[in-house]
Amino acid sequence: MPTLNMVQAINLALKEEMQRDKNVVLLGEDVGKDGGVFRVTEGLLEQFGSERVMDTPLAESVIAGAAIGMALYGLKPVAEIQFMGFIYPAIDQIFSHASRIRSRSRGRFTCPLVVRAPYGAGIKAPELHSESTEALFCHMPGIKVVVPSSPYSAKGLLISSIRDPDPVIFLESSRLYRSIKEDVPEGEYTIPLGKARVVQEGTDVTVIAWGSMLQRALKAVEGVNAEVIDLMTLSPFDEETILKSVKKTGRIIIAHEAVKTCGFGAELSATIAEDAMLHLKAPIMRVTGYDVVLPLPKLEDFYIPTAARIKKAIEEVMKY
């Protein structure tokens, strides 16, 4: 079984799905000849040709919008937005259309597409290359949001996303792209959307994380009898697994890279406060990015939540 980093795992998922299904096509800025600015689509133009791996003009709204049209027409487009910070011009197409076409047409037309984008800070990139605004997309019914935390899960989740009958926003931590390796089987396997994974069982405290924060969460719980949950799909999210863990540990920490206010942690916390309040032994703590404009590289390490900050929150809730 090959040991792959996340770039390679995602590349493999794309390649295998394109081999399996002729309707799977890729589009985006620099995804063809250049293989993507992170090389995620490297080699796919050569293998599948420019009809299936399309370098597009610089226009995010129509990248998303054209993906919608392709999906309507029966293709399975996987669109790349070069960085999550450049998804904002495409939000109108995603919010006004991708999410609503099934409902609008009472099922006559559907939108099985994937929009991939690297997200998150930590690679010393210029402004707007470090966004983690996944929560925005979770507020829009009709959209699914998936955030893998490792090469293995990236491959399995991406395959599921491509096969999903509804539009999926698939966010890849650019910080993780090449920093972790893992055994990733060749050939198809899927990880179901909407299900979280209990990475580590524990009894005293639950730490919920996704994407770029999972590694730090795991580091933070060293020496603690903690349960760690990798949420994987944010929308729709796995209430069951979370509530079960709340009932078990009674202490909840949610870690995310996004700013605190209205981050997805708020939804998780609110869900718990509504549905499992009586099982709580301590306040629900969120360890998040600060409520500030994302800084340029010189300050970015101070912005991203650290394992130490998660650890401190754990110590805090363990006082109860």
Partner: protein, 351 residues
């Protein structure tokens, strides 16, 4: 030659049928008498539908409605050139297109009464639902055309929008894609000279809308949009070009919105009666009638006959629509995703 002209462009305008019902034979598309009559009937039919919709709205039996009055030739003429297998991306003011394609009338009323089921397009047609956010359907047409091209299907994609729509970013990005990928798409811009209260002159400083296509490396043409022959001929040729993989065409139908923007609007606030009056003389139905009369294809009996038929069809559609049961509150939940989420299932218990 240090200051030189490196490219030149001309904007063409095509007119065939004038206000008096005279057609330029040299440009006349080949249409049988039956086809011409069919077109005329669709024009009358569409106007009958439109008037009824306005009446129903006034009586509170329909929601906000966007009238097509004055734009019938642009819509019927273009849709008449289409095949059922072509893909159509309308905006919200294309009832004449739906009707020409044979879309069930009662469903149109159903949609405008605020019921999603009205735009659940029948399986034998490919008309995308009414698109409310201006210009945003253009990227969909692009994507569908990319699909057509990829699958090498013998189909074209048609996209409708208004003069106001040309100001939106999605228009630009979509047109540019069409040029770069040489897509089998026909853009039909109904320049009805108004975007709610904003007249064309405040919408763009461009002398014509047709010339906007030059910015994307393909053909743009202006036609008299109240001239059903000019519309039909130009669209037909553009469709053939598309199906031969010879790329996109942008067609500016020069027409006029005779009615208020929608039933929620009051055009008297912002435009002069004189302007509207001047356009009445250019009515698209009247001039086809005059043409047909000269050709012996029209008389008062015929007119009465088709008006009766149109009225009967619209009456029946209204009856059918009003017999439909109110949608179930549970329907709220059923079409967001293919499968309801656990949260939705719980929420649905409220009903």
């Amino acid at each position: 030659m240090p200051e030189k002209i490196i490219e030149s462009y001309n904007v063409k305008r095509i007119e065939i049928l004038d206000e008096k019902g005279n057609a330029d034979e040299s440009l006349m598309p080949s249409l049988s008498n039956e086809q011409i009559k069919k077109m005329y009937e669709l024009l009358v039919h569409s106007r009958t539908f439109d008037q009824r919709a306005l009446n129903l709205q006034r009586e509170g039996r329909l929601g906000t409605y966007a009238s097509i009055l004055g734009q019938e030739a642009s819509q019927i003429g273009s849709a008449f050139a289409l095949e059922k297998s072509d893909w159509i991306f309308p905006s919200f003011r294309e009832m004449g297109v739906y009707i020409t394609m044979g879309y069930p009338l009662y469903m149109l009323f159903q949609y405008w009464s605020g019921d999603e089921r009205g735009v659940k397009c029948p399986d034998d047609l490919n008309i995308f639902p009414v698109c409310v956010p201006v210009g945003t359907q253009i990227p969909h047409a692009i994507g569908a055309a990319m699909g057509v091209k990829y699958k090498k299907d013998k189909k074209a994609v048609v996209c409708y929008f208004g003069d106001g729509g040309t100001s939106e970013g999605d228009f630009h990005e979509g047109m540019n894609f069409a040029g770069v990928f040489k897509l089998p798409v026909v853009f039909i811009c109904q320049n009805n000279h108004w975007a709610i209260s904003v007249p064309l002159k405040k919408q763009t400083a461009s002398k014509t809308l047709a010339q906007k296509a030059f910015a994307y490396g393909f053909e743009g043409i202006q036609i008299d949009g109240n001239d059903v022959f000019a519309v039909y001929k130009t669209v037909k040729e553009a469709l053939e070009k598309a199906k031969k993989d010879n790329g996109p065409t942008f067609i500016e139908c020069f027409t006029y919105r005779m009615s208020d923007h929608t039933t929620a609007d009051d055009a008297i606030r912002y435009r002069s009666k004189e302007e509207v009056e001047a356009w009445k003389a250019k009515d698209p139905i009247q001039r086809l009638k005059l043409f047909m009369e000269k050709k012996g294809l029209w008389n008062a009996n015929y007119q009465k006959d088709i008006e009766d038929k149109a009225k009967a069809a619209v009456d029946e559609a209204v009856r059918n629509e009003e017999a439909i049961e109110h949608p179930e509150p549970k329907d709220l939940f059923k079409f967001t995703y293919e499968k309801m989420t656990s949260r939705q299932i719980r929420q649905m218990k409220d009903f």
